[in-house]
């Protein structure tokens, strides 16, 4: 009798655990999923050795013309797409090593970055990117497409880029270029 009761309680307990797990796993539909879950499978399966590097290309404006210019960098490889994408933006914020211009106010920080399974990278910057921005069509284009091109060029699974500021959607950086839609990369703005 006693063992039967223990057995029933045991079964009920396991059922409860299963239900709790199911509840928490299925509830996240409306939320934007954190990056770790949506890393594209092919990248995740690439097992990278610690200390291995990969080449990336960053896009900077230049004093000589109104185009963006490519600058190659070596950075530490990471198994996670998101980690590599974050590093890429950090490198971009650190500025050029070849004397190109920085399209960011110096105080700008990367707050967060995630990539949806549809291939949209959400990049969240600190408020300085807007508050201290030069404001002007040309300067806003330079800022936007140095970010967008630098992500889309290096990561095949990033198709579009959505720029967030201080955790939310903002209309523009300084009154011109709309940030309310995701951007496709624009390589016609890049020097040959």
């Amino acid at each position: 009798m006693e063992t039967k009761r223990v057995l029933i309680l045991g079964v009920l307990f396991i059922l409860l655990v299963v239900l709790v797990v199911l509840f928490f796993r299925s509830g996240g539909e409306e939320r934007i999923r954190p990056s770790a879950e949506v890393v594209s499978p092919e990248l995740e399966s690439l097992s990278k050795k610690p200390g291995e590097t990969r080449k990336i290309v960053l896009f900077f404006p230049s004093e000589e013309d109104s185009l963006l210019h490519k600058e190659e960098r070596e950075m530490l490889a990471d198994a996670s797409l998101v980690q590599e994408a974050k590093q890429t933006i950090e490198e971009l914020l650190n500025g050029s090593k070849n004397g190109y211009l920085s399209p960011f106010p110096p105080e700008t920080k990367l707050r967060e970055l995630f990539v949806t399974k549809e291939g949209v990278a959400y990049v969240d910057f600190s408020r300085e990117i807007q508050e201290k921005h030069l404001s002007g069509s040309s300067s806003e284009m330079a800022t936007v497409f140095s970010i967008v091109n630098s992500l889309a060029y290096n990561f095949n699974s990033v198709k579009k880029v959505f720029i967030l500021i201080d955790g939310g959607e903002k209309e523009t950086l300084g009154g011109h270029i709309s940030l309310l839609r995701p951007f496709l990369p624009q390589y016609d703005l890049v020097a040959k």
Binding site: S66, S135, G136, L184
Partner: protein
């Protein structure tokens, strides 16, 4: 009362309507017509209506005659848009109206100063000065109505600028700006029109809407439908891109000619203020405030007048081009 032919598919929205101005909106049906009853919460009001094409829209502007509510009303104006499938024939269409309207949009204003030169010149002041000069030249030379999105140093949201253009049934929209660049050397005028690289998903959705509007109204739930309407409104400029590029080209040519500046050409960019404008629309960056020489020039009457004259000449050339068509 809307009279409709027997074969015209006509579907009616029965969704609840929330507004501070409108108490209720109801439809009733007769043998060959529908009656739309709009109950207004206030007694002292006037209204105006007009239709827009692609997609067909009937827009009703309701203005309350009470100073206290006027600001609120302005905001509502842009939003109270009803969609239906058959435009009413008795509405004056854009092309049949005799007097054309040009809307000039002086960039920035109020707390939003825009670009700033190193000698302290603010973009918002330059854009307003040039816009006033442009308005005067147009009014002196053409039988056009000129509306400015602002005539003072005040904040106006980008959405409201677009709404002012559409509510005034603008035939042409010109946004005036002064540029800035990270390059100290960057110089010269640039005229932009909208680039709307519709993503695949959006392009598909638009194509679907164009082909299946009847089916769409049946098959889509309320929330999705609102989103789609918003996207369409947001993409109003998409159907004017060809004319907008011609207007841009025409203005840029005159700016280069009159100012003897290096040709920076016409460019496309996803400008927020242009996206929803339902007529040919351009944004003119007259010179660079980030360039010390150009900043000095931008502050002079002479340069401002030259710029206004060049933009006007570009506009005239564009109109000539289109009167021949």
């Amino acid at each position: 009362m809307v009279r409709i032919g027997p074969n015209v598919p006509f579907r009616i929205q029965r969704r609840a309507f929330k507004s501070r101005v409108i108490q209720s909106m109801t439809w009733s049906r007769g043998k060959d017509y529908y009656l739309l009853n709009i109950r207004i919460k206030h007694s002292n009001f006037s209204y105006d209506y007009f239709s827009l094409n692609n997609p067909h829209k009937l827009v009703i502007d309701i203005s309350l005659h009470d100073e206290k509510n006027s600001k609120e009303d302005k905001i509502l104006k842009g939003k109270e848009v009803l969609r239906k499938e058959e435009p009413r024939k008795e509405f004056p269409s854009r092309s049949s109206r005799e007097i054309k309207t040009v809307v000039i949009d002086p960039g920035h204003g109020g707390l939003e100063i825009g670009a700033k030169g190193k000698f302290g010149t603010a973009e918002k002041d330059i854009t307003l000065d040039i816009s006033f000069k442009l308005k005067a030249i147009i009014e002196r030379n053409l039988a056009f109505r000129v509306v400015m999105t602002r005539e003072k140093d005040i904040d106006i949201s980008l959405d409201n600028r677009t709404a002012i253009a559409n509510n005034n049934r603008a035939d042409l929209f010109i946004s005036v700006h002064a540029n800035s660049s990270y390059r100290k050397e960057a110089s010269g005028p640039e005229t932009f029109f909208l680039s709307q690289k519709a993503t695949d998903e959006e392009a598909r959705r638009l194509a679907y809407l164009e082909n299946n509007s009847a089916e769409l109204e049946e098959g889509i739930d309320r929330e999705n439908e609102e989103e789609i309407q918003m996207i369409l409104w947001d993409m109003a400029q998409a159907s004017y891109l060809r004319q907008s590029s011609q207007l841009a080209e025409s203005i840029q040519k005159e700016l280069n000619l009159l100012l003897g500046t290096t040709d920076r050409g016409i460019k496309q960019a996803p400008f927020k203020v242009l996206a929803g404008v339902a007529c040919p629309a351009v944004l003119v960056e007259v010179a660079f405030l980030s360039n010390a020489d150009e900043e000095k020039k931008l502050g002079t009457e002479e340069f401002q007048s030259n710029v206004a004259q060049a933009v006007f000449q570009g506009l005239v050339n564009y109109l000539k081009l289109h009167s021949q068509e």
